[in-house]
């Protein structure tokens, strides 16, 4: 899918979410589902394979999200599956997050954490990153166990890395550089 079309999808979803008056929730749910889609190869293949009947793919989405996501989010995902665009959800979701953040005069910070964060931790983290970057940030958090521990945040071109994995990587580079 071209960037223009992704942007058009993101704009349409943004309009729907705005009309629903639940833009943060819909945007957050779509982002969370896109992360799940990126992590699970099986889910990605099942939903993006057009040879599987639409009803079956639709049922998978309903089974996964019917009690966890809002009706608007569910409707958007079902629409993307039926249009054969579900594989573009990660990009559309990011574009939507940017639009939402822009509307709120914020910037999106993509946070990856080794463990899930509590609301209080999220609040502290948001405040700290807001102060560090001198911007109002909308955090999009993903749990990534491969980081081993710690957090990394990407705001635009800036990466603030505090993960155990990156520290070990630096240690490896130092060891190899000494040779």
């Amino acid at each position: 899918m071209s960037d223009k079309r992704k942007d058009q999808y993101a704009s349409a979803i943004f309009e729907i979410a705005t009309a629903e008056g639940n833009i943060d929730k819909i945007s957050g749910e779509l982002y969370a589902f896109s992360q799940a889609l990126e992590k699970s190869r099986e889910l990605y293949v099942s939903l993006s394979d057009n040879s599987i009947p639409f009803e079956k793919r639709n049922q998978i989405v309903l089974d996964l999200l019917s009690n966890k996501a809002s009706a608007a989010t569910l409707g958007v995902i079902v629409m993307l599956v039926s249009a054969g665009r579900i594989k573009d959800l990660p990009d559309i979701s990011k574009e939507l997050s940017v639009k939402v953040a822009e509307q709120q005069e914020k910037e999106v910070a993509y946070v990856r954490s080794a463990v899930s964060l509590s609301d209080e931790q999220l609040k502290k983290l948001r405040e700290a990153l807001n102060k560090a970057t001198n911007k109002q940030l909308d955090l999009k958090v993903t749990v990534d166990e491969e980081l081993l521990g710690g957090i990394t945040a990407t705001i635009g071109d800036t990466v603030i890395d505090g993960t155990v994995k990156s520290r070990l990587q630096k240690l490896r580079e130092k060891l190899e550089a000494k040779q």
Binding site: A114, L125, N134, L168, L175
Partner: protein, 182 residues
């Protein structure tokens, strides 16, 4: 004397008692005839014989002269040949000397080349050996680093409990706050 005595005896024994046998007139006529023959021969044959001798003499003289000339030529050629032989000998010596010098130079060049090649091979071998040693060392170090890092990752992953995760998050937040304050 003995011959005179023998002739006297021979004459005494002859039928006419003379020294010459037979009639004395025969002797005169015979002698006259002989003289006539001799005179005839001297008159007719002698010039031819003299001419023949002269011719023969001339021919012999020419032949002697030719032989003399041939001998002189031969002598000249011999001298020339000898001289050439001398030149050849000297040239041969020169060629031999040059050949010896060339051979010595070639030998020196070959020795130097062999020495240089040996040095190059030695240097290359030494360089390759050093390179291999460094590579092996680096590979071992990288391997050790990988093993150490993998072990460290495993240890860290096992030792990271909820409290440590919270601590890491707090460190991250405080580090960002410090940056903001600075």
């Amino acid at each position: 004397m003995r011959a005179f005595n023998a002739a006297t005896i021979f004459a005494a024994e002859a039928p006419n008692g003379n020294f010459l046998p037979g009639d004395i007139n025969e002797f005169y006529w015979g002698s006259a005839a002989f003289l006539v023959v001799v005179a005839f021969l001297l008159w007719k044959v002698r010039p031819s014989i003299v001419k023949m001798f002269k011719k023969s003499n001339e021919q012999t003289k020419n032949e002697v002269e030719w032989a003399q000339n041939a001998a002189d030529d031969a002598q000249c050629e011999f001298s020339e040949f000898k001289s050439k032989l001398g030149d050849i000998s000297s040239e041969r010596e020169q060629i031999l000397t040059e050949a010896r010098e060339s051979a010595q130079n070639l030998e020196e060049e070959l020795k130097q080349k062999a020495h240089q090649d040996a040095e190059e091979v030695k240097t290359r071998f030494s360089h390759d050996t050093e390179l291999s040693r460094v590579q092996a060392q680096n590979e071992v170090k990288q391997q050790l680093a990988r093993v150490a890092l993998t072990a460290a990752e495993n240890i860290v992953a096992d030792s990271l409990d909820e409290k440590t995760h919270d601590q890491l998050l707090d460190d991250y937040i405080s580090s960002n706050l410090k940056k903001a304050n600075n």
